[in-house]
């Protein structure tokens, strides 16, 4: 399995542990292969974060957003979110589908994901502006996150299916609805 063969990492099951383990392994077991990998990754990371496909124009209804202090302070397109609608979108498998990866305090739902953190008290931990950044494009603060950006610049999407070209995962209104709902989870 590529570079993993050359480095024997201490077994890690959690992402947090992985960081610690990688430090340990890097200190004790660094070899040339890892160096090569590391450099490639850094380069790829810095390149990927800014690649925009110039052929595709930004859709007319796409509202630009700005990151300040690890937050997006202004609601997308200046829209107000609706808590009830947001709850429906968050739990709907064909729309937000938050439950695919996160646990939500929704009665009657037993099947949920354990990839992302549980969102039960998310609003007690993060401000609405911080939540907005994480829903809109979490990769702007964590480039390696597996979480899709629900309002990421569509030009950054690699090889979208024809039906989804130039589209965002959710609409600006849907994103604001979800944020309004998450803001109630204190």
């Amino acid at each position: 399995m590529g570079a993993a063969d050359s480095v024997e990492l201490t077994p890690c099951s959690l992402y947090q542990k992985a960081i610690y383990c990688s430090v340990v392994s890097a200190v004790y077991k660094t070899d040339m292969k890892v160096h090569k990998y590391l450099i490639t990754l850094l380069l790829a990371g810095s390149l990927l974060s800014g690649v925009v496909n110039a052929e595709d124009a930004l859709p007319d209804d796409y509202c630009r957003w700005e990151v300040t202090d690890y937050t997006i302070k202004e609601p997308l397109c200046g829209l107000a979110g609706d808590v009830q609608r947001g709850r429906e979108i968050a739990t709907d498998g064909s729309r937000g589908n938050c439950l695919a990866c996160h646990q939500l305090p929704v009665p009657g739902v037993e099947a949920y994901g354990t990839i992302g953190p549980p969102l039960e008290n998310i609003a007690a931990r993060l401000s609405v502006a911080m939540i907005r950044l994480r829903v809109v494009d979490t990769r702007s603060i964590n480039p390696l996150s597996i979480m899709p950006g629900f309002y990421r610049d569509p030009r950054l999407i690699n090889r979208p299916a024809t039906a989804f070209r130039g589209r965002t995962f959710l609409t600006a209104q849907q994103v604001e609805d979800v944020i309004a709902y998450l803001g109630t989870l204190k």
């Binding site: 480095v7 990754l41 597996i146």
Partner: protein, 259 residues
């Protein structure tokens, strides 16, 4: 001092990158370990496993002669494919000097059939070829996957791995993120596997169909709302090769049952 701070920051982010991208050094585990016990029982029971119907169908094709020809696959390889060598089957996809690229098991079967039984060339993943591949692969059940990784394969595998690590589609995820970082975690109600290929062609409970590795990759790309690669594209062949090489050492389970 400022430089040291910057250097530390760079080092930390690099380590973070490595920790997240590398497989967490766990052992290679078949998808069998990630399916529910009831599904395992279904796979192990020849009367319950729907994939065995495809094996039978493949055997019929293996034994049938085309119009105007007098040879079938079985004429050389035996009625039950008993002359096929499991160790050789476990090597596929193999590198071929003739085409300076890889040849998949399905391609090998297709070419052998065209050259010797007078059949018309069928497109990749045609149901007849899928059935033949399933039957032939099943002849090597239990044999550890043993894809060549050195020599001319090294570059092809590196290219395949790059695709494995590339994000695709509106959902914007790469294979490695689920299958290297999160195996064992739940995605909605399902356990994420390592995405091993030793059970393919496999019977998918989600679609109710026998599915080749190529088709599975295409279905995954569809799920990511990405434009899937064509069945004959270089990309899907390289991804399939890399994914099969990750399964080196795992016993062949074709036809496995997967979700």
């Amino acid at each position: 001092m400022k430089y040291i701070n910057k250097l530390m920051l760079l080092l930390c982010s690099a380590l973070l990158a490595v920790s997240a991208t590398m497989t967490l050094a766990g052992e290679v585990k078949s998808g069998y370990e990630f399916i529910k016990p009831a599904t395992r029982e279904m796979q192990d029971d020849d009367f319950e496993n729907p994939g065995l119907l495809t094996v039978e169908q493949g055997q019929q094709l293996f034994n049938s002669t085309q119009q105007g020809a007098d040879k079938s696959c079985a004429s050389c390889h035996g009625e039950d494919g008993e002359n096929l060598k499991p160790k050789v089957l476990a090597r596929y996809p193999v590198y071929s000097k003739d085409v300076a690229s890889i040849v998949t098991l399905q391609q090998r079967i297709s070419r052998c059939r065209d050259d010797n039984t007078g059949s018309k060339t069928l497109p990749t993943d045609h149901p007849d070829l899928v059935a033949l591949e399933t039957f032939v692969r099943n002849r090597a059940i239990g044999e550890p996957v043993n894809v060549q990784t050195d020599g001319p394969m090294a570059d092809l595998l590196a290219a395949g791995e790059e695709l494995y690590r590339t994000r695709f589609g509106l959902i914007d995820m790469a294979c490695y993120q689920c299958h290297d970082i999160y195996p064992g975690q739940m995605i909605r109600g399902q356990k994420i596997s390592q995405g091993q290929a030793n059970g393919f062609p496999a019977y998918r409970l989600d679609t109710g169909e026998i599915t080749t590795l190529n088709q599975r990759i295409q279905q995954c790309l569809n799920l990511m709302r990405a434009e899937p690669f064509d069945a004959d594209s270089e990309e899907i062949r390289l991804m399939g090769l890399y994914i099969m090489s990750r399964s080196n050492g795992l016993g062949i389970e074709t036809p496995a049952i997967r979700y």
